[in-house]
Symmetry: C2
Subunit: 197 residues, 2 copies
Amino acid sequence: MKYASETVERAIHELSKLPGIGRKTAQRHVFFLLKQSEENVRQLAESLLELKSKVIHCSVCYNITEDDPCRICASDKRDRSIICVVEEASDILALEKTGEYNGLYHVLGGALSPLDGIGPDDLRLKELLRRLTGVKEIIIATNPNTEGEATALYISKLVKPLDVKVSRIARGIPVGADLEYADETTLARALQGRLEY
Amino acid sequence: MKYASETVERAIHELSKLPGIGRKTAQRHVFFLLKQSEENVRQLAESLLELKSKVIHCSVCYNITEDDPCRICASDKRDRSIICVVEEASDILALEKTGEYNGLYHVLGGALSPLDGIGPDDLRLKELLRRLTGVKEIIIATNPNTEGEATALYISKLVKPLDVKVSRIARGIPVGADLEYADETTLARALQGRLEY
């Protein structure tokens, strides 16, 4: 069953392409937007168009940015001897929020996943290797799942022979979690990665 | 913590105004859109803009439509002696899906809610009364919550003296549900509204 208005149908169709948005949610959004002022809807539409016209990838680290190089790469307050490797640009914000890290970043653009046909050539690995001059450490912060771990291993094998220290972010019990409910793999990792007082 | 790119921040801000979309989900949408082609994002943005430029309210029943009057009001196959009163235009599709109803509709534009400052003058009640010539029955299909029930009662008191039959959609156990898990109010309604075989 569809709406008589093709415009409404088209908006529902377009919105339901967004991740995690089904037809019902898209319908709800459309009826919400129909009640908004034209100005408000225009602002939303324009902000989406600007995403593609203004936001680019930093030519050094491939973070999203409006200026090239990005603020992190251009900053003289960051430690240029250390690069943190992440899968996606969105991971950078999560790491920046910790306030624990003051080095540079490198966005791979994904993780190795043979099943999805994503091999080493599809990631920005050559671009990473080109940046290693003067770099003392590479921290690999790919996701702690099969693809992320495989990617981490691959990068470590690639970078280690070049006399650069390679580390991987710790996997263990999340802060605030209950030991009782932790899964075995995470608990095993937490034991393996234990730190001395 | 915010993104260095103001365009990204603006898009997140605009998207998180949608109902049920928080900052995290909006962030996810933005990163999804950044990966889409410019053409795809343009299509989404344009479909939203068209919502406000093309979609209007039917001047008879206040359903959403692109032509005035709407297809239902203009159709000569619908029973013009019966009007189903709903809160929102989105309710019409749900009723049309049943295939059980062949009359006209009337969209109130909400329900009575003194706490939110929505009184009888804020609903399209005068417009409903003006449509009653030749109408034999009004089916009130407002939501089965406090506001919807109050609105139904209000309309019934308004319309009954005008010699028009007024009915209310049945409240009871939803089809496929478990009696065991039904709440008391619904079960009480189901008993009150029992039908003879």
